[in-house]
Structures are given as structure tokens and as C-alpha cells.
Symmetry: C2
Subunit: 462 residues, 2 copies
Amino acid sequence: MAAIEAVLNTIDANLDASRERLFDLLRIPSVSTDPAYNAQCLRAANWLKDQLTGLGYAAEVRETPGHPIVVGHAKAKRKDAPHVLFYGHYDVQPADPLELWETEPFAPRLTEGADGKDIVARGASDDKGQLMTFVEACRAFEANGGLPCNVTFLFEGEEETGSPSLPGFLAAHKDELSAPDLALVCDTSMWNASTPAITVMLRGLALEEVIIKGPSHDLHSGMFGGPVLNPIHVLAKIIADLHDIEGKVTLPGFYASVPEIPDDIAEQWRAIDFNEAKWLSEIGLTRVGGETGRGIIEQIWARPTCDVNGIIGGYTGAGSKTVLPAQASAKFSFRLVGKQDAKAILESFRSFVRERLPTDAKAEFISHGASNALQLPFGSEALNRARRALAEEWDKEPVLAGCGGSIPIVGSFKRDLNMDSLMIGFAHDDDRIHSPNEKYSYTSFHKGARSWARVLHALAAA
Amino acid sequence: MAAIEAVLNTIDANLDASRERLFDLLRIPSVSTDPAYNAQCLRAANWLKDQLTGLGYAAEVRETPGHPIVVGHAKAKRKDAPHVLFYGHYDVQPADPLELWETEPFAPRLTEGADGKDIVARGASDDKGQLMTFVEACRAFEANGGLPCNVTFLFEGEEETGSPSLPGFLAAHKDELSAPDLALVCDTSMWNASTPAITVMLRGLALEEVIIKGPSHDLHSGMFGGPVLNPIHVLAKIIADLHDIEGKVTLPGFYASVPEIPDDIAEQWRAIDFNEAKWLSEIGLTRVGGETGRGIIEQIWARPTCDVNGIIGGYTGAGSKTVLPAQASAKFSFRLVGKQDAKAILESFRSFVRERLPTDAKAEFISHGASNALQLPFGSEALNRARRALAEEWDKEPVLAGCGGSIPIVGSFKRDLNMDSLMIGFAHDDDRIHSPNEKYSYTSFHKGARSWARVLHALAAA
């Protein structure tokens, strides 16, 4: 194995060439949502395939019902090296509105930004710049005797349109793709410009709609109001009962599989630079809601929720109508963490609702999906190695972050290929992804490549 | 004053002629909602004016922005006689769907019905047949020496379209119309085919919409769910808090001005022929809801309510959307009884809502109107006299009924002319008003006229 210092030196020495390659990729307007750019998506796929074959890897552009997927395979020098899969996407959002761009969106350039130089172009941060940090790390290894890990590359072209072809592709190529020990995903952010982050937990999500039915038809509230069951009242009582005065969800057993965060992680989260008041003020609030005594970071990354995302019943137009509605409905969502079982939560929820139905009220349920939380165990060896690698590169302990929402590809890797994902990315929160003048920190690009080199090296260490 | 027996005998002797006059009126298709029938509405108004002038009364057809209003004035023999206003309407609903009528809707005929002979035609029951019972009673008095009361006649032609011109007309002719001691309204039903009813109480109505606002904009429930206030939850808690476990409304002071029904009335309601199970089954229910221990009749006629008539917030389309909404709203209505003050109730409600707003939640209120309950006092002399008069005619004590909803004209009389209304009508619940094959019991027509003769006689008695 090459001494890691030699690999890092190679990255440093070839940074201008690396940037030119990224600029080449950024010049391809691979907008996935607009069929007018179909040929450009294919062009980007071929460009990536050529990069991989140029490094001596086996790589192909594979057809899908939508945009093609690039698959590559690279062998490590060592026979018993670990095997990882690296995921990225080559498609980008449309550049509109064009008039808000300071320069052409597909004519990449370097500018001076708040945190040093930035690369400005559509896709610079999401996800071409990030993707190329990994490719350039691999290139540096090849210049120094070869890769420390076996690597499977998976570059898709439909991430910005919901990855419709990917699940089918994973299922069809399960054997080819699922060999790896770990998926590496480079589509997330740093904590801030000087602090790296590893996203280790994604909350799960269970979605259930409830329709409460009462009288057989809408009734006049004057002629019938009083002795007649009102489904809106029944539904409101159920919603009100779902949280206690401390903001905790009251479903029996809801917190049984919710772990408290380890002390060192909790300590890290308390210490990180996060301004609760600023976060709240940006959404028009002043006080942390939810579970009493728990902060914003902890709640969003590591605590489960129950929220009503929509409710409707009776007359909702302008003015008034004196109607007693025959039904009312609400859409509930549960964000899940730890070992909470989405199916069991929904079963518990349905019982909770049924127990609160007065005589003559009926409940119908419509499921809109259920997935458990995903978590890379805090103590896992791969995570520890990645932490140390990033700490060495950035001279700062990386934040072990959660993500309140789901990242579909990570769920697919777990569900379809039974792979955990290590999510490391170097984007900044102000990268304006999906917006005009998208940018990617040149430091992120440079130190991102160095970070991946260190991570691959660390994963393969004896 | 004519001996009442002579007046009743005249009604009996002239029943065929009375019916022919009603048939003449029923032949006029005075459909108020369809401009194609404007001339027919005017024709009906003129026909009624001619009836009144034919009896020697001063009567005019008065123009309004819509269909004309007929106003007549009849003097009693006695100088100190009471002065009443009689209200009815000459307009009718459209006859559609025509194909469901067994005979022409505007070709009245007598048929054999379940409770004896019926008069079948559009408007037979609502309201031409009812209106003519009063006119025929007056005619019989004129054949026997004159009216026992001064009578002002008010026949409108827009009842079926919401009486848009009436409030303005009442305001413009307040002095002319407000002299009377009492309004007599003949647009209600009997309790059943053999039991008369006087409607003595109408519930009031206060309508208030509440908008609960939380975050400044809709948020992603994954990225923000947990520490963020959910306005739907706040609204649901308010709705849930509005009723206690006994089904009582929890607004402070809500029941302070709600009288218990007098024992004799409560006894009468318990004794009347009313099938709770049947009433419930017709609306798909099996159990009396609302206030524990109170029956349907009592609740609808004499108890106040709080109902949510509509609620909306967040995403309400198909499927799911992981949104934390910025706001949620609900339309509340309060049915009021006794001396409950609608404005005070709404003030109390707004305080109730505000007290339940967590930090950062805001409430906006939109009023959609407020009117107090209307009640003819149970012990009033006019009511006692009318009760006795009806009991003599029908050989049964009339049911003193309530009405859960409002009757706008009665509210207008109270509000604009400061007049109580005595609501006596002879319709049956199965008269198919507004539907094909509308009918009016011939017995109702005959005994209705006799009833009004007895009521006028009783009101004028020393």
C-alpha cells in the first residue's frame, strides 16, 4: 500500500488538473428532468465511464428505463482488501431561472467566496463536485501503486427526479452490487466550513391516513346539532391525546426502542456551534417546542415524532356553512429512530385510534408507507476509522450528525442490498444547490479528495 | 265580536269555495328563483292583494329590488283590539324534476292520502295552503261582523331565495309594520297528523372561524419535525378541550343563561310520540350523543351546542406530503338558547382559544355572524291563549316545540321590529315540500282555518 502521504501529495500536486476534469464534467448540462437534455445525460455518463476506464477499471454505461447508470469495478492491490461501493449522481437540477445567474450555469469558473475560492456552476456541489472528490482520490492511489480497497462505482442520472430506475436496477444487479462491505455516499454537507461531518443516522418514516366516519351523510347543524356525533371532534380528541404535556408521544411502547444518545455524542452535540435562536427565528419562532428539555439538534437527529401533516373535514370554503360532517380525516406521520419498528408503531397507532372511537364512530386507515430508521452503529469499526481519518485531515473531530429526513438511496442500499452507508460530504449549507449561482468550496473539493484518500486508507488498515 | 261558533260554521260551510280559491292561487307558477316566472310572481302578489281588498281591507302590491311584497291592513270592530301581523309567502320552489310528478305541479287536485284527503300541487304546503288558512279565517270573521284583532298582512315573494329584499323593506316601513303586538307566522309543521304544535323557541347561532398560525411558512417534517410547533396539534387540542367527558361545552359561563325546561314542558316532551332509535337510524347512528342524560328532542330544541363545521390544515390531497403546516383553521358554530348572549359567548370563546396558545402560536378570528335565541316565554299570555285555542280545535294539547335551526324572518321581526312571533303551522313532515308531488292535508287546510279563527278570537278575548 502506498504511504498515504504520497497519495495526499499527489492530490495536492495535481489539483489544477483535477479541477479541469471537474470543469469538463460541469460543462455537460445533464439536466435529468427535461427530455431535451437526454443526450447530455448520456454524455455525462459516458464521460464518467471514460474516467473509470482511463484509470484501468472495468466500467460500463448501463441502460435503464430512464437515464443510464454507470457501473465500475476497481480491484485493490491486496487480495483481502475490503470492498466498498461508492455512490454519486451525475444529473443536475435545471438551471432556471437563468436571469439570476451571474455567469453561464454550465460555464464553470472560480470565484472568491466568503470561505475562500468557490467553484460556481450548476451541479458544482450537487453532486458533480462531491462525486469527483472520490474519483480524484482513486486517481491519486493509482499513481501510487493502486487502491487500498476494492471499489464498486455506482453513478446514477436520475437522483434529481426521484431515482425511479434505481430500485429496479439494484434488484436486477444484486449480486454484482451487494458484495461490498459498506456503501460510501458523498451527497451530504459539512457541519460548517471548517468542521467535517459524518451522517450516521437517518430517521425512519411511517405514514398513515385516518378517516373518521360518523353520520351516514352531512347534516344540518341546526336540525341535528347536539345529539349527533361530530367526526371532527372525535379526530381532534385523538390528535390531542397523542402528545402529553411534556410533548412526548403517548402511544404505548413508543419509546421502548428509542436509545438515549451515548454521552460522548451528546457532549459533542452540546459543544457544536449551533444557534437555536437563529434557527428558530428563520422559521418565525422563538421557543424550542416538542419534547421538554431536549434541544433542536437532538430532537431532529435522534428523537421520534408524531405529526399531523394534513387535516380536513366539513366545510372549508369561504364564509360559513352550518353542517355536521359525515367524516373527517387526517394524515399522520411518525419519524422513527433507533430500533423502532415502523409496522409495530402503525399497529399501535391503529389500536390507539380504535380505542378512542365513541359508539357509532368508525375509523378507516390508509397506509402511505413505512420505513425504519437507518443508523450506522456509533461504535462500529468503519465509523471509528472514518472519524479518525477526517479528524486528521481537518484537524477537527467530525460531527456525527443525524438527518431528520430520509435519503432514499441509503434506504435502498439497506433494504435491497443489506448494506450500511457511510455518508460523508463536503458541501456547505450555503452552496445554493438547486438555486442560481450554485457553488462548491474549492477547499471542499481539494480536502474532500484528501479526505476520501484518508478514509479509504483507514478502512483498509490492518 | 261574532260568537266563535258562527265563524267556525261559516268556515265549514264555505270549505269548497275556500279550496277553489286556494286552487286558483296554486295555479299561478310563482317560482321566485327563475326570472322566467317574474310575471307569475307579480300575478300571485296581485291575486293576494285582490283577496284582501275583496274583504274590504286596504292592500297594496309594493315594489322591492326583487319580487313585490303585499301589505294589507284590516281594522278590528273593537277600538282596543290587539294588533297582529300575519306573515306568509306566495313564492314557491321550482317544480323540477317534472318527470317525477304524477300530475302537473301547477294543476292542483285532491287525492286520497294516508291521513285523509290531500291537496297536491307545488306550494300546497309551502306556503300557499298555510297562508290561505289565515285568509279564510279572516273571511269567515268578515261574514260574521268583522275581525276580533287588527291585522297587518305581509306576504313576501322571495322566501325561497333567502328573502333578500325583506330586511330592507322592514327597515323602510318600520312604523307601518311594527305597530302589532305579535307576529303570526304560518310556515311550520304539526307534531303529527292529529297533534298541533306551536314553535316557541328557535336556537340562536354564533359563527366564528379560527386560524392558528405557527411557523412562518410550511416546513419539511423530516428536517424540522420535533422541535417545531404544529398548528394542527394546537387547534386539535382546543377542539378537544371544548367538551368535557359528559358532552358539556367547557367555555366558562356557557350554561349560566341556559334555563332548564319547565317541568310541565319537559313532561310533555317525554310523553310525545318520538322514536329516538328511528331518528338515529335514519342518519346511520345508534346512540344519542351530546350531553349525557339528555334526549334528542331536548338537546335539539332547548340545549346549546358547540360544533366544528369545518377544519383544514396542511396537505389534504391524495397520498402523503411530509409537511409541517404554517397554519390550520376551523369553523366553529354555537347554537344558543335561553338568554345566552351570542357576543359574550364569542368573547369567551376567543379567550378560551388564546389561553390555549403555546408560545409562538397566534390566533386570528373571523366572525361569520351572531344571533341570540328567540323564545316566546313559556308563561306568556298570548302563548297560553293560543295553546287553549288549538287544544279546543284539535282536542289535544299542542306540543310546544323548539326548532334547532334559525328561521330568518322570525329573527328579523325580533331584531328589526322588536316583535315576538307565534309560529303555528299545519304542515305534515311528509308533505314533500321542495320535492315532487308536494301535498297539503285537506284536514290541515280546513282545521287550520278554524284554528286561526280560534287563535284570533282567543287573542282578543277580554
